[in-house]
Subunit: 290 residues, 2 copies
């Protein structure tokens, strides 16, 4: 009963964090729209500043909010009865949407720059932003090839999973850092009279948007890195090997936080390390096959 | 023998990453000095732009490089025979130095702004930077009170350790993001003829410095988040309790990556879960007492 109460309390804590991050993410998207419609030129696709405005809106919607949700989609407890394959499609699908929006938002900037004869790719924002988009594409294609297509052997999947998780979280953090640089650039260039340094309402408003992005990112990274909030391994997964076949020294942890929830929930009542090793390996296999 | 060879290979990989991060961190400090001495007004403390220049130099030296080293100091294998208490003093000491340098670097900016009648605290850079310094101070004081002073009970230490690790890594990433915003601001304001958008040599040079900071941060976060590179728990720690006394449901993992190295190295040859639980708890106790 005490154990159950603890579990409910922990579940409540997860829901509160999830609700907070959805709120912060959603409000960020709304604020980006208020920024471009109330303070700026609105949205259009005509080479004007209104075309540029697609850039912050699509980056915050796709590359920050949707990418953040894609990261924690395996953590949602009510999806744990869905097949892992379905969840992988949702994870890959959300990341694909995020990538498309990020690419369209870059096209908007290049188009705007070319129409106004502003050089492309001179700023640190553009260097790191383009690097992030390239790494994000590599991450998406390699994730698709290794974890979704049925060809990669389990050992390869298990070895690449910690790198996939690390890269994903690092790219996500880098994208938010790049958005903050972009906000800084835009406020300096767009606010002239009064200048950014005079703190007109638009400056304060968009600074708050920047703070919201940092809070959203911090919440997502917290939820993604708690080991006990991971999707539990399937007890009845197909790949079960004798102990001798367990690849010793192979990185079987599937995330930065590794498979300790298996230790705690499934193994507490069990006295055989043999079984533990099977489940650990099963965990890696299951996480990368179904 | 195969196991030993794997261990050596893994040790070599750690050393290569450590050497790379030291190199990237050290080169970043050098580039910040080249920036202010070759391209800018040098360093002085007279309210001029040369006083401002302390800001990037001290932030990159202290708040990025030294903080990064402080984060991974427990990972250095040749320190594992030193007492945990000594390593805690080194960790706390490096972080204290980093905080002092960060505060001095902020004083330099406020001084410069006041001398030139430039408003303070109007930019997103300043908002997030000051927030990061405040959280860093809270982290340092709470870490001192909970993990260094001998008063906090083991359960409190074990419960707070994952939060300490998460906050530390998140603040570190936020500091790098803030440095990138600062570089963006400074290049836009300082480069007028030719402008930042004309890509003069200084612009390209400092953009490269920004890239180095991102690579340094990524390397530190990779090293800090590999479970098998953690300092191993002491087998002979003082606090060992009967299984019944193990606080069930307590967060005994001491980092984001939890104590899986204990699982792999110490438990593979062991058949009792009882012993495992003792070691796990021992791990939390040891990590937070000595």
């Amino acid at each position: 009963a005490v154990h159950g109460a603890r579990k409910m309390e922990d579940y409540g804590r997860f829901l509160a964090l999830l609700a907070s991050s959805l709120l912060f993410g959603f409000v960020s998207v709304i604020l980006s729209l208020v920024w471009v419609f109330h303070y700026r030129e609105g949205l259009s696709w005509d080479g004007s500043a209104a075309e540029f405005n697609w850039h912050p809106v699509l980056i915050i919607t796709g590359f920050v909010f949707i990418q953040g949700i894609a990261i924690i989609v395996y953590r949602l407890p009510w999806t744990w009865k869905c097949s892992k394959l379905l969840m992988k499609f949702i994870h890959a699908g959300l990341n694909t949407i995020a990538m498309i929006l990020a690419i369209v938002s870059m096209v908007a900037v290049f188009d705007f720059h070319n129409a106004k004869n502003i050089p492309n790719m001179y700023s640190l924002h553009s260097w790191i932003g383009l690097t992030a988009v390239i790494f994000y594409s590599l991450q998406l294609f390699s994730g698709f090839a290794v974890f979704l297509l049925p060809f990669a052997p389990v050992r390869l999947r298990a070895a690449l999973m910690p790198i996939h998780v690390y890269s994903g979280l690092t790219i996500f953090a880098t994208v938010i850092a790049t958005a903050l640089m972009g906000i800084t650039e835009k406020l300096i260039f767009a606010l002239q009279n009064p200048a950014y340094s005079a703190s007109p309402p638009e400056a304060t408003f968009v600074n708050c948007l920047g703070l919201l992005l940092v809070i959203f990112g911090s919440l997502i990274l917290w939820m993604a890195s708690r080991p006990h909030w991971k999707r539990p391994p399937a007890e009845n997964a197909k790949i079960l090997r004798p102990i001798g076949a367990t690849p010793e020294g192979t990185e079987v942890e599937s995330t930065m936080t590794n498979s300790s929830n298996a230790d705690k929930s499934d193994l507490r009542s069990n006295t055989e390390v043999a079984r533990k090793q099977n489940i650990k390996f099963d965990d890696a296999g299951q996480r990368s096959t179904m």
